[in-house]
């Protein structure tokens, strides 16, 4: 019995996110546990006249590589992988894990070497995306591992996840088109802002965004989606911020992160748990202490923290900041092997001022937009 929500998500990815057309080559990436969605995507792509193929692998293999591989093996990218990145027109990444902590006992530096090797491929992917040559969408197939991280049963997690994608409604694409208009208008309204000031518990942070482009994340690159984001001016972050949600990177959690910025760089960092790992990540390279992203989470179907950045960064009423690589299309210039999203819950108390004017309070923009579809009233 095929879950109708899986089929609707597949339809949404193929026709709305990727706008896949006849003759286009689409690769579907994921672990074998994602095969129900992979098969649905494959069939939907066939129906669209495209040439789909799956690139599925087993979970647990990369862990073996990190545990046992030589430096050369960790850094290896095969000629076939390079060739494929050039040949495909579209790519779907399904994040679907059997155990989200399977890297837990492994050497971080070695894991970092593997991530750095894979980043070479993903950098090329982003170049092609930026040039308009490649479409990409990342989504998820619910598993018990993800449900467990969210403190939910699989059934409840499926309802939560597909709800966040609006795949539980007959026409999810209609929702995303409408939200796209709203987010676009919101991004436009932020275009003239020079400085954001974020105020909240233990938080008073000024982030320069003058001249940068705000982007609407409207379900083209991620599903679920729902945020507006930009890359801050690299030298213009000042002040302190506290992240009440755990910050997760590479399967490891750092709790209650507090950062102080001066001249755009982190100059002090502490955490109630995982502080050594926090310092390790900050020292990863020269760009790791600089913000690459500032964003508002605007998907109000996502109403809780579930330890998965795909969903957490879009929680309606939150902001997130990423340490590390910025987005060229937003005007960002920071480069780093790191892009670590840290989420700040602003739903209960929190304000954001734009050039001194209150624009956000208690988890929502205060000024209504001409089109207010999809946002919380």
């Amino acid at each position: 019995m095929i879950d109708a929500r899986v089929e609707r998500l597949a339809e949404l990815v193929i026709s709305y996110s990727l706008e896949l057309g006849e003759g286009q080559i689409v690769r579907i990436d994921g672990f074998d546990v994602a095969s129900p969605l992979a098969v649905a995507l494959y069939r939907t792509a066939l129906a669209a006249g495209a040439h789909p193929y799956t690139n599925l692998t087993l979970d647990g293999l990369q862990e073996l590589l990190v545990a046992n591989g030589t430096e050369e093996q960790l850094a290896y990218v095969s000629p076939s992988q390079w060739g494929e990145i050039e040949a495909i027109d579209a790519q779907v990444t399904i994040w679907s894990e059997t155990n989200t902590r399977s890297f837990g006992g492994l050497d971080e530096r070695r894991h970092g070497a593997l991530i750095a090797a894979q980043r070479k491929l993903s950098n090329r992917r982003w170049e092609r995306i930026a040039a308009g040559e490649l479409r990409w969408c990342g989504t998820l197939h619910p598993t018990n591992a993800h449900a467990q991280d969210a403190d939910m049963s699989l059934r409840d997690y499926e309802a939560f996840f597909f709800g966040a994608c609006h795949a539980d409604t007959p026409d999810p694409a209609a929702h995303w088109r409408s939200l796209s208009a709203t987010l676009g208008a919101r991004a436009e309204s932020l275009a003239a802002v020079r400085e954001l000031r974020i105020l909240g518990p233990d938080t008073d942070l000024r982030v320069g965004v003058g001249g940068r482009t705000w982007m609407a994340a409207d379900g083209k690159y991620n599903l679920p989606d729902g945020e507006v984001f930009t890359s801050p001016v690299e030298s213009e972050t000042e002040g302190e911020i506290r992240f009440t949600f755990p910050a997760i990177f590479g399967g490891r959690e750092v709790e209650d992160v507090r950062l102080r910025f001066e001249g755009g760089r982190v100059v002090a960092a502490e955490a109630s748990r995982g502080e050594p790992y926090l310092r390790e990540l900050l020292d990863l390279d020269g760009g790791a202490r600089v913000l690459g992203e500032v964003a508002f989470g605007l998907n109000y179907e996502i109403d809780r923290f579930t330890r998965n950045i795909l969903l957490d960064e879009k929680i309606g009423g939150t902001m997130h900041l990423a340490l590390g690589a910025g987005f060229a299309q937003a005007g960002g210039t920071n480069t780093s092997a790191l892009h670590w999203d840290l989420i700040c819950d602003l739903r209960a108390e929190g304000e954001v001022l734009a050039d001194g004017e209150l624009v956000w309070k208690d988890g929502a923009f205060v000024a209504p937009l001409p089109v207010a579809v999809g946002e919380r009233a």
């Binding site: 799956t54 690139n55 087993l58």
Partner: protein, 370 residues
């Protein structure tokens, strides 16, 4: 706790069959059910200094393509496969079917179209293999589906599979080397022969093999293994052959196949079941009507027929021939998108003559040759 025999199979596959070396790109293809073997192979490829790259294919995508794809989609070659055929040093394919009849309802003509489209890939694989640039291996991880086809419980089928690979022994690699030397001797002896004449119930077949090479199959490209094969002179095959075993090919079964050759070409076919499919496959291209391979199965650990070519064609006391493509290393020249092995039981009431001399009777070479 993995079955120690799975670990031994992985060990043999990596260190003996494909002899993975540092820096080798090793592509591993499997269905999801083969995961335990994939993991063991992955570990050992890493330990050997290779670069393992794993592809898990799900039957349902193949079924969707075959049933729902347009002609253009059926004819499409994935860039992944094209790139990999050129760049891989080793390719290991693990059969791990969850349902061997997934493609049973597919129109044969559509299967034929896919076969033709993918021919260049197969050709390149064999070319690179013959040139010593790539090693490939086909093996199997026991599943309920394969056990069911064999008419066995899974535990019994596992015993069967691992015994056929001599993986129930302490040192399977030594056992395979020793077995390989025996196969070498048969192959070298057959290399001195020109005409073969096979007589069995329903079978009276003549073919010439002079000038061609007999290849001892010692567990390098198939595992388990145990046969000697050649590519017959394409125009030389004459007479009738009846296959006592059913033949499974791409989800279809054909039974009681009888084929008549004239001047090297199939001129008549019969089958009690699946004849349409057989004829459709013979029409894939010109080469499909010719015999691309002739072989003797010599693995005496395989006695049961299990409806799986990887095993059936090696049953000690059988012969098999393939319609379609020949292997370049035999000197065979036949090209085709097809390579379909059909197995004949020779264990009772059979004789084989080489250049007029009786050399094989009731499933055994005479004079202690093997």
């Amino acid at each position: 706790m993995p079955d120690p025999r799975v670990e031994r199979l992985a060990e043999v596959a990596v260190s003996y069959s494909t002899a993975v070396r540092p820096g080798d790109l090793v592509i591993v293809d499997s269905g999801p059910a083969g995961a335990p073997l994939v993991r063991e192979i992955y570990k050992r490829v890493l330990a050997a200094g290779g670069h393992p790259l794993v592809h898990i294919s799900v039957d349902a995508t193949q079924e969707a393509l075959m049933r729902e794809g347009s002609d253009a989609q059926l004819g499409f070659l994935s860039p992944a496969r094209v790139e990999e055929i050129e760049s891989a040093d080793v390719r290991i394919v693990i059969e791990a079917d969850e349902n061997t009849r997934t493609l049973a309802a597919v129109e044969p003509a559509r299967q034929a179209l896919v076969k033709r489209a993918r021919k260049p890939l197969g050709d390149r694989l064999f070319e690179r293999s013959a040139a010593g640039e790539l090693r490939w291996l086909v093996t199997l991880y026991p599943t309920h589906a394969a056990a069911q086809d064999a008419g066995m419980a899974l535990a019994d089928y596992e015993d069967f599979v691992y015994r056929a690979g001599m993986l129930d022994r302490d040192d399977p690699v030594s056992a395979w080397r020793e077995f390989g030397e025996r196969l070498d001797r048969v192959a070298a002896w057959l290399d001195t022969k020109d005409e073969l004449h096979v007589v069995a119930e329903g079978t009276d077949l003549r073919l010439r093999v002079g000038g061609r090479r007999w290849v001892p199959s010692r567990g390098l490209e198939n595992f388990p293994d145990g046969e000697v094969f050649t590519g017959p002179v394409e125009t030389s095959v004459e007479g009738t052959v009846r296959c006592s075993f059913p033949a499974a090919y791409q989800g279809r079964i054909v039974e009681d196949v009888e084929v008549r050759f004239e001047g090297g070409e199939v001129v008549a076919t019969e089958a009690s079941r699946g004849r349409d499919f057989l004829d459709e496959m013979l029409a894939v291209d010109d080469g499909a009507r010719r015999m691309g391979e002739f072989a003797f199965g010599l693995n005496d650990s395989i006695t049961a027929f299990t409806l799986n070519t990887l095993f059936d064609e090696k049953i000690g006391g059988t012969m098999h021939f393939a319609l379609g493509k020949s292997y370049p290393e035999t000197g065979g020249l036949n090209g085709s998108a097809l390579h379909w092995d059909l197995v004949c039981d020779l264990r009772e009431g059979s004789e084989v003559y080489a250049d007029g001399e009786l050399v094989y009777r009731d499933g055994r070479f005479l004079d202690g040759l093997f």
